[in-house]
C-alpha cells in the first residue's frame, strides 16, 4: 500500500454549534475515518466521529478483579498457610475471611484505577509528541476556542477534490491540507 500524499483535509470552525452540525453532516455523508478536535468534549460530536466502544471499562474490570483477588489470596496465604496466627480469636483458616475484606477492597480499587489510566493513555496512542495535525496553521487554538474537523485520507470515500467541496459546503473558516 502506498502512503497517501496527505494525511487529510482539515476544516476549521468558529463555534461548538458549527462543529456539531458539521460532524453530523459528515457522518450522514458516509465518512468514517475522521476526527474532530475541540477544546472540550462535546457529546454530539463524539457520537458522530467516534466508534461506540472505548475499551477502557474492560481493562478496568480486569484490573479490579486481578487486584481484589490478588489482595485477598495474598492475605489468605500469609495468614492461614505461610504463617498461621490466631489473633483475637479470629480463626486462622478460611472462616476468618471478613477481616481480609478492607485490604481486598483497597487493592482492587488500586489496580482498577491504574488500569483506567494506563488504558486511557495506551489506547489513545499517547505519548505522541508529533502528529500531522499539529502542522495545521492555527491548530494551537484547538485546545482553546476553535473547533476542527479532519477527514482523513485513509477513508474509502476520501477524494481530494470532492471532500474539499463537501467541507466547503459546511462553511468553515478555512480548509487546510494536512501534511503527513
Amino acid at each position: 500500500m502506498t502512503r497517501p500524499a496527505i494525511y487529510g483535509l482539515m476544516a476549521e470552525f468558529d463555534s461548538a454549534e458549527a462543529i456539531t452540525k458539521a460532524a453530523h453532516r459528515a457522518h450522514e455523508e458516509g465518512y468514517h475515518d475522521m476526527d474532530a478536535y475541540t477544546p472540550f468534549p462535546i457529546e454530539e460530536v463524539i457520537e458522530a466521529v467516534s466508534p461506540r466502544n472505548t475499551g477502557v471499562p474492560f481493562f478496568v474490570l480486569i484490573g479490579g478483579v486481578l487486584g481484589a483477588s490478588g489482595g485477598f489470596f495474598m492475605q489468605m496465604y500469609a495468614m492461614t498457610i505461610d504463617y498461621p496466627l490466631n489473633i483475637g480469636g479470629r480463626p486462622p483458616n478460611i472462616t476468618g475471611w471478613p477481616s481480609f475484606i478492607p485490604i481486598t477492597f483497597e487493592s482492587g480499587i488500586l489496580l482498577a484505577a491504574f488500569a483506567a489510566v494506563i488504558s486511557l493513555i495506551a489506547l489513545n496512542g499517547l505519548p505522541m509528541p508529533y502528529h500531522p495535525v499539529f502542522n495545521v496553521p492555527g491548530f494551537e487554538r484547538a485546545s482553546q476556542d476553535r473547533f476542527f474537523l479532519c477527514i482523513e485520507a485513509t477513508d474509502t470515500k476520501f477524494d481530494r477534490r470532492r471532500t474539499r467541496e463537501f467541507l466547503q459546503s459546511l462553511q468553515p473558516r478555512q480548509i487546510t491540507e494536512v501534511e503527513p
Binding site: 460532524a23 477544546p39 462535546i42 472505548t54 485490604i103 483497597e106 480499587i109 489513545n124 505522541m128 485546545s143
Partner: protein, 477 residues
Amino acid sequence: MQRYEQIEPMEPIIGPGQTYATITERISSIPLTDLRQTPRGWLVGFAISFSFLMLFLISILWLFARGTGIWGLNIPVAWGFAIINFVWWIGIGHAGTLISAVLLLFQQSWRNSINRFAEAMTLFAVACAGLFPILHLGRPWLFYWLIPYPNTLGMWPQFRSPLAWDVFAISTYATVSLLFWLVGLIPDFAILRDRAAGKLQRQIFGLLSLGWRSSSRHWHRYEMAYLILAALSTPLVVSVHSIVSLDFAVSQLPGWHVTIFPPYFVAGAVFSGFAMVLTLTIPIRKWYNLEDFITMKHLDNMAKVMLVTGSIVFYGYLMELFYGWYSASAFEQFMVLNRMIGPYAPFFWALIVCNGIIPQLLWFKFFRQNIPFLFVFSIIVNIGMWLERFVIVVISLHREFLPSSWDMYTPTFWDWSLYIGSFGLFFTLLFLFIRFLPMINIFEMSMLQFSENEKAHGREARRVQLAGDTPEPAEMA
C-alpha cells in the same frame, strides 16, 4: 406566571461576559507568567511557608536523633499529637475527593471551578497526613516493614489489624488521588503548551501533555476513564476514613469502642475538608481576581454541605454521650463524665461550640453569603475538628480502666513544632501549585460555559413559549 418565576431565577456559576477565550486566558496566564514577574505577594507567602517547612524538617531531624521521647507521650497516652494530626490532615483531604468525584457523579457542574484546587489540597493534605504515622513509629527507617514483600524475616504484616488496613487505605488513597489529578491535568497541559511564550515552557508543557491533541476519539476515552476514576474514588473516600476510624473502634477502650465511628468519621472528614477549602479559596479568589469562577453560589453551596455534615457530626457527639450512659458500663459512664467535667473539659466544650453550635448559623442565608463570616467560620471549624481528634485520642486514653495508671498529657515544644511545621509542607506545596499549574480546570470551565449557554438558550426558549410566543430561530443557533 408561577411557572415563569420558577424558571427565571438562577444564580450564575460563571460570572457574566466570559467566553472560552477569556476563561482560558485568565486562568492560564497565572502559571505562564514569567519567573521574573512573579507577584511580590506570592514570594512573601512562599518564603513564610518555606521557613515553616524548615521548622518541620528540623523537628524531624531532632526526632530521628532522639526518638519519640522528645514528645509529651507517656503511658497511658501513647498516641498524642502524631495521631491527632494524622487524622486531622487525612480528614481535610477528603473534601477534595468528594468535590472531584462524588459531585461529578451527581452531575453538580458547579464543582468544575473548585475541583482542581480541592484535589491539590487533597494530595498535599494526604502527604502531610502520611508522614505522621511513620514519624510516630519508634524506628521510622523500618517503615517498609508495613508493606508485604518477600523478606528473610519470614514475616508478614498482621493483615487482621486495622493498622495494616490503614497502610493500604492511605497508600491507595494517595495513589488514586494523584492519578485522578494528573489525568485531569493532561488537557490543561496541552492548553499551556499551546499558549506558552517561551520555547522551554512549550517543551516542558509539551512533554507533560503527552502530545494531547484534543481529538474527539481521545475525549471519548478520556471522559469514560474520568468517570470510572470518579466511580472508583467515591467508595474509596468512604472506605479510607472508615478504616481510620476502625483504628480506634476495634480497640476496647471506652471512648473508642463505638460502632457509630465510621459514618461519623466520614462526615467529620468532609466537614473539615470543606472548611479548609473555604479557608483557602476565599483569599485566593480575592488575590487572583477569580470571583467570576468561584462565585457566591459556590460559597453558598459549600456552606450548605458543611451545615449537613456538621449536623451529622454533632449528632455523633451526642450519640457518643448517650451510648456511654446507655451502656450501663461503669467505665463508659466514667468516660462521658470525664469528658464533660474532667481536667480536659474545656477542650470538649470548645469542641461542642465550634462544631456543634456555630455551624447551625448556616441555616440562615445571611451567614452563608457573608464572606468574612465564612472565612472566620472555616477557621473555627478547622480548630474544632482538631479538638475533636484531641478529645477522642487524649481524653479517652489518659484515664482508662485502672486509676493507678492515669496520667496527664502535656504537649512539648517538639509536638507543636512538628504540627505547625506540617503547615509549612502543606502551604509550600500549595504555593508552588498555584504558581506553576492551572489552579482551575480550564477545559472543564469552557465546557461549563458551553452547557450554561445551552441552558440559557433553553430557558430563554421555554420562557418565550410560556409567555405564548414561539422561539425565534435565531435564538436556537
